[in-house]
Symmetry: C2
């Protein structure tokens, strides 16, 4: 049956993720009655194109959410903490792309391909997981269903767009400067709010997000905690090393997973090939494997380099690449919104 | 006692590694009577500076090795296969930086900090391990001695200079082109001799070296096989994912090692700090960790991000960075040559 038309608000509409949310809303199936673009006072007044028309960005206030059905938030954790309760109070369902509510036991943490059924349990807020978590759990889901697994050891190769549009600009300027033998700006990477900044151009930085007391970074702990919550299995042991690399868009991940039983590699490939939201690109003999430049602008999760550990017959290596701004953020949020709308109209 | 003076030949003197071998020979302690710079016919006649003087590069022939004591080879596997027997026949000891003889049971595969005692067992050829193996085994050696380990799961972030000077030029040109919105040259990466070439600028490529029948790449199999041989322990299970990243110099590695017993993290840090050839740079709270831009031009192996697995109390994460042209190639070869000279003079 046709879904009812909804009023959608996008908070953080001028950011790197907000822009991709708008592209997604243009392309996907949510019937939009009214679209409200919200941002900080600094961005208010900007004009943004949506379906061929110019829409003016308004400063977010609690009243901005009056009459809103679905509010997509991607303006930072502090902004979410401030405005999510206001939006919920006014009857909106918030799909929050920040870290603010992800581990709140009252808030479903949803990747539609993995645990889309959790959406119906929301109490006003649904959290979108961290980008590096989303693509990993999509790749692991069909293996979890068929074999189960105990342990995941993941090393990431994360694009700078995970730190926003300014970080992309910094990589551009640093790269240009390095090629000309100059030093470029160092103001954002690895973490804008920290005191030390390092060049990312032609470098790797083994820090995404702030340090935690246990020696891990917050990004690493997000992957560890969120994976357990999404699979609803506290026994899953994840260890992660999160690294920034000089790529604009598309996170890559080297994922080692120890399945609960021995497996046939051909069966694993078939399962991945049929997995929801996955494109298997796995033929090293013909140099076929996922790379971030190819997956940029795509909504799916790409999996390749599927290999059995040479020693441990339950150990499986995967190379997982996805567009961190799309499936890692905007696409996943809009997919949740779509499910909300279709549930609502059933 | 003072070592005797030796005649040294460098085959591949004009390549990316050859150049670093010359810088190393200038800085280190080998007393050189005569230096012969050898290369293919194409590079013959070039002049190279050594200790302030110009030395002319000669075309390598079997006769080039007459009177040579130590020959340092880094001109590709095929060249080594052709000339190593000729050099040995004429009394030289060959330190070979290619893959040609590494797994030959008659040839010691040496990283001085790890198994320098193997040098004395040579029969004319000593192999220098693969760059990505060398830095990993240096970092693991003190842990191997204290705890032992069964399993290593490594993901690499490898610099383009591992594919030679032309690959560095390609990254430069591709980066410049991408920043100007053009497509740059695509002739070398990921593997020059294969048919498909992909951009490495602002990308990651999960292929270093050619594919093997088991789905691994040769680079990955080198790490697996060489680690067992260097530690002289066939029971060590290594699985590797080798990835090229847009970095000019310096390989990074995310290394997960499962020790044979539970460990105290403070002890592990102390052991690494005292480890031969290692610089521990591990303080995430103060944003201190190794990065390739900082380690470029340094001879040591840098270790940071030392963390215990949150689940497996025998699991240890390390971030290991080293200059692939130095400790990964030239420095290790010259260190072997130094040991040869000092053994000889004892």
């Amino acid at each position: 049956m046709p879904s009812r038309e909804v009023t959608v608000a996008v908070l953080g509409a001028t950011g790197a993720v907000g822009e991709q949310i708008l592209r997604n809303l243009e392309e996907r199936s949510i019937p939009i009655k009214e679209l409200r673009l919200l941002a900080s006072a600094r961005s208010a007044g900007k004009k943004v194109r949506f379906k061929g028309e110019e829409v003016e960005v308004q400063e977010a206030t609690p009243e901005s959410f009056e009459g809103v059905d679905i509010a997509l938030f991607s303006a930072g954790g502090g902004v979410s903490e401030k405005f999510a309760p206001e939006a919920v109070k006014r009857g909106a369902v918030v799909v929050d792309n920040t870290n603010a509510f992800r581990m709140d036991p009252e808030v479903p943490l949803v990747v539609p391909e993995v645990n889309g059924d959790q959406i119906r349990h929301h109490k006003g807020i649904i959290a979108n997981p961290n980008c590096s978590t989303i693509q990993m759990v999509v790749a692991l889901k069909p293996l979890f269903d068929r074999f189960g697994f105990d342990r995941v050891i993941v090393s990431t190769y994360q694009a700078v767009s995970g730190s926003g549009a300014q970080a992309m600009e910094e990589l551009t300027e640093q790269s240009r400067a390095a090629l000309e033998g100059r030093q470029g700006p160092r103001e954002i990477m690895p973490v804008g709010k920290l005191s030390k900044h390092y060049p990312i151009a032609f470098n790797t930085i083994p820090q995404c997000d702030v340090a935690q007391d246990n020696g891990y970074t917050l990004e690493e702990m997000k992957m560890i905690r969120e994976t357990k919550k999404i699979f609803d299995d506290e026994s899953i042991g994840v260890t992660a090393t999160c690294v920034r690399v000089p790529v604009f868009r598309g996170h890559s991940e080297s994922v080692y997973v120890e399945l609960k039983e021995e497996f046939d590699l051909a069966e694993v490939r078939q399962i991945l090939k049929e997995g929801e939201g996955i494109i298997l690109q796995d033929d090293i003999a013909n140099q076929e494997y996922p790379m971030p430049l190819d997956t940029s602008g795509r909504d799916e999760v790409f999996v390749g380099r599927v290999r059995k550990d040479t020693v441990n017959s339950r150990g499986l290596n995967l190379w997982v690449v996805s567009d961190n701004l799309l499936k890692g953020a905007a696409t996943n949020a809009v997919q949740i919104a779509e499910k909300l709308v279709s549930q609502d109209s059933q």
